[in-house]
């Protein structure tokens, strides 16, 4: 394999023998018939179709519901590796919450000169409406999905902190469910840490963040933009499994100073709203006036402490790609410790020297929009044509502050099942983190996204990526 030395193979050590976490799986795999496994893979697809685990694709005319391809070879992480990762993630998430509190209060970090003021004040993700407002329990990011990439035995980097409305957790759960159905024998041999209680943990964590005035069992609802949203399946899945109501803006109204949903028996107040709607659409009175997805006046209820919004409005400032490059400073500033998980080196194109470097090395770099997500509007230099490079160069020169650049990372590989047998493909990992005043809760595993095209480094589902079940082994 030509690219073997460049990329870390999570399954096979350089000698070809399986690395320790994969030993059990490989022993099982060697006794399996490849045709049977291929048939199982087809079964899995049918299972996903029948269950309706689909996502809607923007701009695709026909077949508007698609499956995210699922690969049946699990991605396996040892208990030791995981323990190390969780320490780093926990540290980072604590820092993010402290940062958000600070940014919307005294802005000590700006005063200390660790972050330029313009990055905050002129950032679209910064919400002046949140200044001076303390969310219940001082939790800003109730749910975080930290994107990690691996480049070596002990080398993990944080690629992105998804602190707004990270998606994908339903795939983590359904992938495990599918594996349990298809390969029960594997789970009786190999001790894998469970993920299935995530919805219960989510409900518990959200309940712990209820407003102080809430007595009794908090009423939790999930706010979705509706059945045409690409992540609708996930919204309904989470509401269903967490015992929450699934609401849209049209079901909600402010009644007597509380956010309430229209039920068959009248309006019922909600205590915690897990909203899967962007800040800008949340409240037409306070943000975008043309939004039909939100609720007029919801922010006023929030301000008076009548409801918990998860995540809090304005958390986007923490996962903004321009802020990202300051994360090591942010972690150190609020925790007093060095960041356990390193950042990917990042050039801020707003800085003239960095821009020059980026323009000179465009074909080696990955360039991202500061406010973009989901792989849209992104340039992968090594994979781009001359024409794409030229077009992107023009965009960069026109609005440099709109972009950051990073080296093309040597993402680790995990095998997928192909026609010809196992073949390595690049992966990343999104663990899911729950935050409440009671603590930080990280579900062992997460969503492994895999670039199914040979050699491709883009794992986004919108760009042809697939997913795998992610196993964290019991120690």
């Amino acid at each position: 394999m030509s690219d073997a030395p460049r990329f870390f193979d999570e399954l096979a050590a350089p000698g070809g023998e399986p690395r320790p976490p994969y030993e059990g799986y490989c022993a099982w795999f060697d006794g399996e018939d490849i045709t049977r496994l291929r048939r199982k893979a087809a079964d899995a697809e049918r299972f996903f179709r029948r269950t309706g685990i689909t996502f809607n694709v923007y701009g695709a005319e026909e077949a508007d519901e698609r499956l995210i391809p699922f690969d049946i070879v699990p991605r396996i992480i040892s208990g030791r590796e995981w323990a190390r990762l969780t320490r780093g993630i926990e540290q980072r998430v604590r820092a993010i919450n402290a940062f958000l509190y600070d940014i919307y209060h005294r802005q000590e970090i700006v005063r200390a000169g660790r972050i330029p003021e313009r990055l905050i004040a002129r950032n679209e993700a910064f919400l002046p409406q949140m200044i001076g407002l303390a969310p219940p329990g001082n939790v800003y990011t109730h749910i975080v999905g930290v994107d990690l990439v691996r480049t070596g035995e002990d080398e993990f980097y944080v690629l992105e902190d998804n602190a707004r409305t990270p998606s994908g957790v339903s795939y983590m759960l359904e992938n495990r469910e599918t594996m349990l159905q298809m390969f029960p024998e594997l789970f009786s041999h190999i001790r894998v840490q469970p993920v299935q209680d995530y919805p219960t943990r989510l409900a518990r964590s959200l309940a712990a963040c209820a407003p102080t005035g809430c007595s009794g069992r908090p009423v939790i609802a999930v706010l979705t933009p509706g059945i045409h949203n690409s992540a609708y399946f996930e919204h309904s899945f989470l509401a269903d499994h967490a015992g929450a109501d699934l609401v849209e803006g049209t079901d909600l109204r402010v009644v007597d100073g509380r956010l309430a949903m229209r039920t068959t028996r009248g309006y019922t107040a909600i205590d915690v709203l897990y909203r899967r709607v962007d800040d800008a659409f949340l409240d037409p009175l306070n943000f975008r006036p043309d939004s039909v997805l939100g609720v007029p006046g919801i922010l006023d209820v929030y301000r008076s402490g009548g409801i918990t919004l998860a995540n809090a409005p304005g958390t986007g400032i923490a996962d903004d790609k321009a802020i990202y490059s300051y994360m090591p400073d942010i972690v150190e500033f609020y925790t007093g410790e060095k960041a356990l998980l390193p950042n990917v080196p990042t050039w801020r194109c707003s800085e003239p020297e960095a821009l020059k470097y980026v323009l000179d090395n465009l074909s080696d770099l990955v360039v991202k929009e500061v406010h973009g997500s989901g792989g849209y509007g992104m340039l992968v230099g090594p994979a781009a044509s001359k024409r794409e490079l030229a077009a992107f160069r023009a965009k960069l020169e026109a609005r440099p502050a709109n972009y950051i650049a990073q080296p093309t990372l040597a993402l680790s590989t995990v095998p997928v099942l192909t026609r010809a047998g196992l073949a390595p493909r690049h992966v990343d990992l999104r663990p899911f983190v729950l935050v409440s005043p009671k603590g930080i809760d990280i579900t062992p595993g997460g969503l492994t996204r895999v670039a199914l095209k040979k050699g491709s480094l883009v794992v986004n589902s919108s760009q042809g990526g697939g997913t795998k079940d992610t196993w964290v082994l019991e120690e």
């Binding site: 309706g52 059945i227 609708y232 309904s236 269903d240 849209e248 109204r253 039920t263 068959t264 028996r265």
Partner: protein
């Protein structure tokens, strides 16, 4: 429960019921066409009428043929009440109310939709028609089975059932309305061979031929049919049966919520009128008028339920 969810459940089961009834209408029309080819084009016109699709079909096709009627009723995108469109409507509503459904009900609905899309991907050949219709009906029976076998008997179940019976009552009444003239006693008390075919066909359209014979033997009469389809509380597609079911499900809602609404009074009044009615009196006052009144009462009831339980904002 959210008002929107109640509405979604009701419509999910309305659509499912409608798709099933349309397959029955097609089956009955097809059968008449096979046994009485000469009258078949008229027959298709009345089938289109009964499913409320005649006007839309007229805009699409200058003449009515068996092939274009069947295709229109089954799968033509120009027909918002085609079997495929109804199943899609049921499935879209199921997605909307996913959190109120058991996994089995959802999966059965989703499979019903996938199967219907596969079977109706292109025009159905004449020789495949009976099998395709049966397969589609079987899929919706699986949804109903999952509903009965896996759902709590709470408000969710009641709204689903109200949707089913409101639609069924409407459909049976429409079939009677389209066919009322063949039931008029003035034509003949003892049926000619043509009458017999027509009468049989009405029963077939509601899947009730076999049960009619159990109750009344081989002798089919207009009065017997009217009695059976309007007033017989044992016949699961009769107006009386459907109305009683709606009343019962609304009674459960009243009990569960501890709240009585204007719709309760409406359904009770309707049920009262049906129990007091006799076929003789109905024929005397006019079958057609009776059915028109019934259709408008059911529509009014559905609208009142929508308001009382806050389906929309």
């Amino acid at each position: 429960m959210l008002g929107k969810t109640a509405g979604g459940l009701l419509w999910m089961f309305r659509y499912l019921e409608r798709s099933e009834n349309t397959t029955r209408l097609i089956e009955a029309g097809f059968r008449i066409a096979l046994t009485r080819p000469a009258t078949s084009d008229d027959e298709w016109a009345s089938v289109l009428d009964a499913s409320g699709a005649r006007a839309a079909h007229g805009q699409r096709h200058a003449t009515t043929t068996q092939a274009n009627a069947i295709d229109f009723l089954l799968r033509d995108p120009a027909n918002p009440s085609s079997v495929l469109a109804c199943i899609e409507g049921a499935r879209n509503n199921a997605r909307l109310v996913r959190t109120a459904l058991s996994r089995e009900v959802w999966e059965a609905t989703n499979e019903c939709w996938m199967e219907a899309r596969r079977l109706l991907a292109r025009p159905v050949r004449e020789r495949d028609l009976p099998e395709v219709l049966a397969a589609i009906r079987q899929q919706s029976a699986l949804v109903r089975g999952a509903l009965h076998g896996t759902m709590l008997r709470n408000d969710i179940f009641n709204f689903a059932r109200i949707g089913t019976f409101a639609e069924r009552a409407d459909n049976t009444a429409r079939i009677l309305d389209v066919k009322y003239y063949v039931l008029l006693p003035s034509i003949s008390q003892i049926g000619s061979p043509l009458d017999n075919v027509q009468w049989e066909n009405i029963l077939r359209s509601v899947g009730g031929l076999r049960s009619f014979r159990w109750l009344h033997g081989a002798e089919i009469t207009p009065l017997g049919i009217a009695q059976f389809l309007i007033l017989d509380g044992r016949m699961p597609r009769s107006l009386a049966f459907c109305t009683a079911k709606i009343a019962a499900n609304m009674g459960y809602l009243e009990k569960e919520y501890g709240a009585r609404h204007p719709s309760h009074a409406l359904v009770e009044a309707l049920l009262g009128r049906l129990s007091a009615a006799s076929t003789e009196a109905i024929f005397e006052a006019g079958l057609h008028e009776f059915i028109l009144d019934f259709l408008s009462d059911v529509a009014g009831l559905a609208a009142q339920i929508e308001t009382d339980y806050r389906f929309y904002g």
